[in-house]
Subunit: 304 residues, 2 copies
């Protein structure tokens, strides 16, 4: 078994990059020629499957283009789930495409429920659901997932247990949206809620530390709130941080000052729209625009 | 447009029942003859689709059997998601089956993300995703969904906005699992976190109150923590409460004392395993055992 944290560390070191490319496909934002190509196939594929196939082609094109310069890929489950069964199949193909490039895949699903239900979500994302006649299912094949801590640590345990099989978990500590502070920054018995969550993450991750010194249980903390980001880093020196809020959400490289921890820096910075829709801003082919935007972001973040 | 809260109130009043039947299909717990029937169809359907079809038949059988005595149906998304695209299709069929009986369907998905992503989850659950050639998609067709408040009210707004289209939302305030208290009962600036969430729910629900006097934005609060349940009720006199923890999770009718609010009582009590697997305890056909367990639970709760 290779620790997830080791696979992520090695991807960062090999690619000299901490960029995580978020895959958030939105039909209205895709190139006209690609939409037209799949609109012409609606009769053949069906209306829903045509969108799903269009998403899979777009996402795979992006992944192929950024594979040498991105440290990880983060598909957002919601954008695929909108298209039901066909969307779910497309997400599975997108995960497989990233894995073919040996890019760690963090499926952004923000799940979390009582124990037996979290175990079922873990099976959906990591595999393991029983069948009637054959082997347990492979599931989506994610390397890691995002999970929501509100229900407490027993709700997270079924995900954390999968670390023993080489999987990873990123627990939401502090999120990047404007309303995040309402609960997450509330003073809970002398410590903001998100740092109580960080304490929980530290406990959950103690048992799964890879050879690069990082735990397989990481934290989400945002570039849009640099003080909170720094506080999460201080609370979790051995965790990988998944940092949203860069690019289209407004934050820049300054927010990342002092974030590095350990030889592989210990974080990945996510950007979705500013990379996958870079062609809308800068023109050209969507694949080469995404690759150029990833290189530019990698170089602006630095760290190596 | 009929308010979700009115449809739920009318279902409670018509059926003289506050029982919500949770649909948590687990392959290992299904009847041997049903499993054998679908195991024999693996070659025809495929291994994954055979499980999904088996789940759909089981769930539909339960729903048909309890349709006169249950107030609502709550499928748990995770158990279907384990089976990928086929599972998602099965869930859609289960939702449709309940709606044919005019049973309000609460899809238990506990979603929640930043705004644009929550909007995509709302499209998955309630419909509205755009296509290339036709109408927006119908989605799962849920009447209501459960959502997680950790990200704050801007993450919940895309769900709440659907109340104007007759949809409903149940926000997790206090959950029923053993570890729930760790964060939810923490004292946040003089008030436990789950009551800060209740305040948020009150604000979010102000704009959507049906003719029965209930808001379309309800709260999840558990029978396993009766003091917290009563506090949520006190904070939200006009909200529907979705009450888990009854039956297999250990709580009984006493936990519900004083919970009634308004002419339709203002709550539904969920039981999943104690109803859908009642045949394992009491023998007989799974459908008639589920109907008998629902009647027994309805009568034990009382309220009418």
């Amino acid at each position: 078994m290779t620790h997830f944290s080791d696979r992520l560390a090695e991807s960062i070191l090999r690619r000299h990059s901490t960029v995580c490319v978020g895959i958030d496909p939105d039909l209205a934002l895709l190139p006209d020629d690609l939409r037209a190509a799949y609109a012409a196939r609606v009769a053949e594929l069906g209306d829903v499957a045509a969108v799903a196939a269009c998403f899979a082609e777009y996402a795979s094109g992006i992944i192929d283009a950024v594979a040498d310069v991105a440290a990880a890929i983060k598909p957002q489950a919601a954008f695929f789930e909108q298209y039901g069964a066909a969307g779910w199949d497309a997400l599975r193909r997108v995960v497989a495409c990233a894995r073919e490039h040996e890019l760690p895949v963090i499926v952004d699903a923000k799940r979390g429920d009582i124990g037996s239900t979290s175990a079922a979500y873990a099976a959906a994302l990591f595999g393991g659901a029983p069948t009637l006649a054959g082997e347990p299912l492979a599931g989506l094949g994610a390397d890691a997932v995002t999970v929501n801590p509100y229900l407490g640590d027993d709700a997270l345990s079924p995900f954390v247990e999968r670390c023993a099989q080489g999987k990873g978990v990123f627990v939401l500590a502090r999120t990047s949206n404007p309303g995040a502070a309402a609960l997450q920054e509330a003073d809970c018995e002398g410590r903001p809620l998100y740092l109580r969550v960080a304490d929980m993450i530290a406990r959950l991750g103690e048992g799964s530390v890879g050879s690069h010194g990082y735990s397989d249980v990481g934290a989400v903390a945002p570039a849009t709130a640099p003080t909170s980001l720094a506080a999460v880093r201080a609370a979790l020196p051995h965790a990988f941080l998944l940092v949203p809020g860069f690019g289209a959400q407004g934050a820049g490289p300054k927010a990342l000052a002092g974030l590095a921890s350990g030889e592989a820096l210990g974080y990945v910075v996510n950007a979705s729209r500013s990379i996958i829709y870079a062609w809308r801003e800068h023109g050209g082919d969507y694949r080469s625009a995404a690759a150029a935007a990833t290189v530019e972001m990698r170089d602006s973040i630095g760290g190596f």
